[in-house]
Amino acid sequence: MELIGSFISAALLALFLQNAIYERALGINILLYASRRRQDVIGFTLGLCYITTLSSAAVWCLDYFFGDYKHYYLIVPVLYILTVGIIYMASLLVLWRYFHDLFKKIRKFVHLTVFNCAVLGALFLNAQLGEGILGYIGYGLGTALGFAVAGFLLYIAYERLNAELVPASFRGMPIMIIYVGIVSMALHAFAGYVT
């Protein structure tokens, strides 16, 4: 029961209070790219869900067994990237072997879903915040769902943000970043802000 509690609280923490985009701006460049089309938001979210959940479980094993090593923090980036890389390769091999059409569809942008700040950031934050394997998995899943919330909020505003009323220089990336900043400010207001 305690383990399920840590899973749910880690997922909720990552989804709302420590939303990858609004609290830490992790993967914001991918979000700007993905929010143009609804299919992209869904596709990227599914990809993130898959990779962060699996990688979180694998990373928990690494942290559990090697976490006490004195210079562990120096090799953590390489270990985490290697973990994500192995899962990425294995998944692509399975897709290529059994779901060839899907593989063809996603192969052009699948690396963007896997090697980005949201995935690696979730793994690094797991090490700081996650408790137990379910806590790690919960945080990974919550990060991906947090990305989905941010992606959907940006997607529904996309047309307005790129309308002609917006000055030409601000259309596109600048106004979208300001919009994300304002939504982030609103979320801060919910969570409570201390200067």
């Binding site: 701006a25 460049n29 980036p77 890389g85 090697f115 950031g121 970043i177 300001i178 900043g181 982030s184």
Partner: protein
């Protein structure tokens, strides 16, 4: 030929600084600047870390054979950049102390998966001869560093009323600008202003070139 080479080098350097600035124009390195560059010292440390990771990472990735399929190559790129994080950690610990490494938190190792290393190496740097690649890379790094330090300094002034260790009174303070949303809003406004300046300059250049063309045409006719 040498004149043409000079022009390419110059345009390569300025590309990363302005037209393809990775924070203000393409937006591929927004997160660390928005979150960590909240004062002068942090932004300077971040710039140093980024310089080491990007320089070592891209230069080493440039030599990965193209025979290897991109699916595998992208993992190798990320691993090499992950290794480049180690000297960055050590340099930051040497120059700023362990506290700064902790201040930068996850954003320093996250530089390893920056699209500048994973994507631009593939689409841009590996297509150039090594000397030109280095010039272009320096342009990109300088572009990031200038924006990073500028954002950090602005936030230091508006939040702490200081730049580094120099205190001065600006008459007001905006503590919220040190938060993530403050960083995002500042970068958004800076990106818009930068684009406007860039577009105006570009339009002026086009007008000037058109004027010059007409003048030459008139002289030829006369």
């Amino acid at each position: 030929m040498s004149n043409n080479n000079k022009t390419t080098k110059k345009s390569g350097l300025f590309d990363g600084l302005s037209r393809q600035n990775i924070v203000l124009m393409s937006g591929i390195a927004i997160a660390p600047v928005a979150v960590v560059a909240n004062n002068f010292h942090n932004s300077a440390a971040l710039a140093l870390g980024f310089t080491i990771i990007a320089l070592l990472g891209v230069t080493a990735c440039r030599f990965i054979p193209k025979k290897i399929v991109y699916t595998v190559r992208v993992i190798i790129y990320a691993l090499i950049a992950g290794l480049a994080v180690i000297p960055a950690y050590l340099a930051l610990r040497h120059f700023y102390g362990m506290e700064m490494v902790e201040n930068l938190g996850v954003y320093l190792p996250l530089m390893a998966v920056n699209p500048l290393i994973l994507t631009k190496t593939e689409t841009r740097f590996s297509l150039r001869p090594p000397h030109l690649m280095l010039v272009e890379l320096l342009g990109y790094i300088m572009g990031f560093n200038i924006v990073c330090v500028a954002v950090g300094t602005t936030r230091d002034v508006l939040v702490n009323r200081q730049i580094g260790a120099i205190h001065f009174d600006v008459g007001f303070e905006v503590p919220a600008l040190s938060s993530t949303f403050g960083g995002l809003i500042i970068i958004g406004i800076a990106a818009g202003a930068f684009r406007q300046q860039y577009n105006m300059r570009k339009a002026r250049k086009i007008r000037k070139a058109e004027k010059e063309r007409l003048r030459r045409k008139m002289i030829e006719e006369l």
